[in-house]
Amino acid sequence: MARFIFQRTLTMLLMLFLLSLVVFLVLELPPGDFAERYVHDLRQSGAQVTAEQVQLYRHMLGLDRPWYLRYLNWMSGILTRFDFGWSLTYRMPVTQVIGDRLVFTVLLSVVTIALSYIIAIPLGIFSAMRQYSIGDYTFTVLGYLGMATPAFLFALILLYISVIYFNTSAGGIFSVEFQNQPWSWAKLVDFLKHMWMPVVVLGTSGAASTIRTMRATMLDEKNQLYVTVARAKGVPERKLIWKYPVRAALNPVVSTIGWELATIVSGSPITATVLSLPDIGPMFLKALLNQDIYLSGTILLIYSALTIIGTFLSDILLAVLDPRIRLTGGTQ
């Protein structure tokens, strides 16, 4: 087991290195750079900018150095000082620009994912154990609806309902009066009042597909011989369902939990825009458009690093859950 984790860790570190290189190169690929973009905007607004000034500006930002030097500089900053570089548009360190938004996004996503699993897994089990019952059909229909409705549309519908029928403003994360207040009990209540909508909107499709996965695997597992053997053994029904088929059916669900890590920070730009959430998604879009290379690079790096780390965690979790995987990974 230890050896298995060690091997996986090495692979992951190598992947992370390659990934950072690819991220940087991809962002380098489009023609032009931030200086050009900036000057273009200045000229649009009627200012006179000479070619020398552009060159000087570029030099100031360090954009005239070869890409590998900039890459090394960027990486060493991240590794030694946790400094992700300088955002050219915001004129602030990248860590400061995304810090708050990152915290909010992670908080929102963790709550969303946790809730959707807590609700979806028992529903999936219920659906499978009572296959073709009214409850099963209800959850199946809701599940398909949840999976098929685009999140932003769902957000719009919920906004409409809450404004028209409940007369509350539901966009954003605070009401106007709490916007710049320090944290207090009333502000927390207000925050929770606003949070439910993004949680529902963002969680629905994930929960819906988890219900489907859980139901399908449970249907496979509950008719397996080892379940019949456990029943023949006189193990009480409720206990045997949770101990045997649920345990086996959790595997496909758990193995995808790691992938959710990436969605934790990426959120979804369109939904975030509709609900006016201080999410990281809209900022990423803006950074890309402005060729703000360190900001967009950092966000992209975080996305993809979390994908790799998530896969790593899934592997480890699966090995913990499934003794057969443990064996093949550990003894060869």
């Binding site: 080892y226 053994k233 009480p236 045997y244 345990r247 499934d322 003794p323 057969r324």
Partner: protein, 342 residues
């Protein structure tokens, strides 16, 4: 209903059907059989004749959508009595989800299944799954259960039992898993052990070891055994009595010697002829019973075996259900060939 003093379980006129979209399958069409205390009953028949369904009916674990339509399954049991005295329960009539049924399962009637590869959960150690049986039915601590599990594994011939007990099913060979299954079946010392083709999926040398093991254990534990197989050689070795099944019915029953030396039903005769003989000529073809088992949705009128029977009586066998003829010593056959002279 009264069981004879030497009887442990008696099944009478058991009918089980599977209502499917394509039609109704009559899996059991009036099965009669009985098992005496401490004796081994061999149940023989082709695939699909209802051997396994009979066994599963006793434990009330027939797969969906199968259900018992008619019949009785009387078992002598101490479950549910406060003073440990025996009484008789009709398993066909009690609720399969009842506490009574739950206690009878494995506490009184245990079963070894045909596929050792899938009988255990891959996610739990063998020790966990075996001691679970004991913890479910007997008042023992986890420590004791583990100790008993290790002892049982040793008795069924699994070496290094104290380390093997912590291993997972995939770390065992098929033969070893079936040994572990037998250990699990016997750990609560059941009064009836059902062995549903326990050796079919194992290779021949392992089969022989397994039979030897079961014979030894039988002497030690004194359980009655219902041994299901399609291998007559195995029956000759292990059984006291034999029931021959065809299409959801028992067509002949008797002591093992009577069945082998003096078979009465044409199906039994054909089955015995179909055993390959080592002394035979090389050029001899293997004997096979003509025809196939009819479609499970079909209902064969008269005697179910008549379309394949070499001694069929025209105008009788295909119209009238054959009578049960007794030949003495509990040997009987369900056939038109024997006029009621005896």
């Amino acid at each position: 209903m009264q069981l004879n003093p030497d009887e442990l379980i008696r099944i009478s006129n058991l009918k089980v059907t599977f209502p499917l979209d394509e039609g109704t399958v009559r899996a059991l069409d009036g099965v009669n059989l009985s098992i005496k205390r401490g004796k081994v009953l061999g149940v023989v028949g082709e695939s699909g004749c209802g051997k396994s369904i009979t066994a599963r009916s006793i434990l009330r674990i027939i797969p969906d959508p199968g259900k018992i339509d008619e019949g009785e399954i009387w078992l002598r049991t101490t479950v549910g009595s406060s003073d440990g005295s025996e009484r008789m329960v009709d398993l066909a009539r009690i609720d399969p989800n009842s506490e009574m049924m739950r206690q009878i399962r494995w506490g009184e009637v245990a079963m070894v299944f045909q596929e050792p590869m899938t009988s255990f959960s891959a996610y739990h150690t063998l020790g966990d799954q075996i001691s679970e049986a004991l913890l479910t039915h007997r008042h023992v601590s986890k420590r004791e259960a583990r100790q008993r599990t290790i002892e049982m594994l040793e008795r069924v011939g699994i070496p290094n039992a104290s380390t093997r007990v912590n291993q997972y099913p995939h770390e065992f060979s098929g033969g070893m898993r079936q040994r572990a299954m037998i250990a699990m079946a016997l750990i609560c010392n059941p009064s009836l052990l059902i062995a549903d083709e326990p050796t079919t999926s194992l290779d021949v040398t392992i089969q022989a070891q397994m039979l030897e093991l079961m014979q030894n254990l039988r002497q030690d534990f004194g359980s009655s055994i219902m041994f299901i197989t399609h291998n007559l050689g195995v029956i000759a070795q292990i059984a006291d009595e034999v029931s021959i099944m065809y299409l959801g019915k028992v067509v002949e029953h008797g002591r093992v010697g009577d069945i082998f030396n003096d078979p009465k039903h044409p199906y039994t005769i054909d089955l015995l002829n179909a055993i390959p003989k080592i002394a035979g000529q090389r050029k001899d073809r293997l004997v096979a019973i003509e025809g196939n088992i009819p479609s499970p949705f079909e209902r064969v009128p008269g005697c179910p075996f008549h379309p394949r029977c070499s001694r069929m009586i025209e105008g009788l066998c295909e119209t009238q259900a054959p009578p049960e003829i007794e030949f003495g010593n509990g040997h009987f056959a369900v056939c038109h060939l024997y006029p009621k002279i005896i």
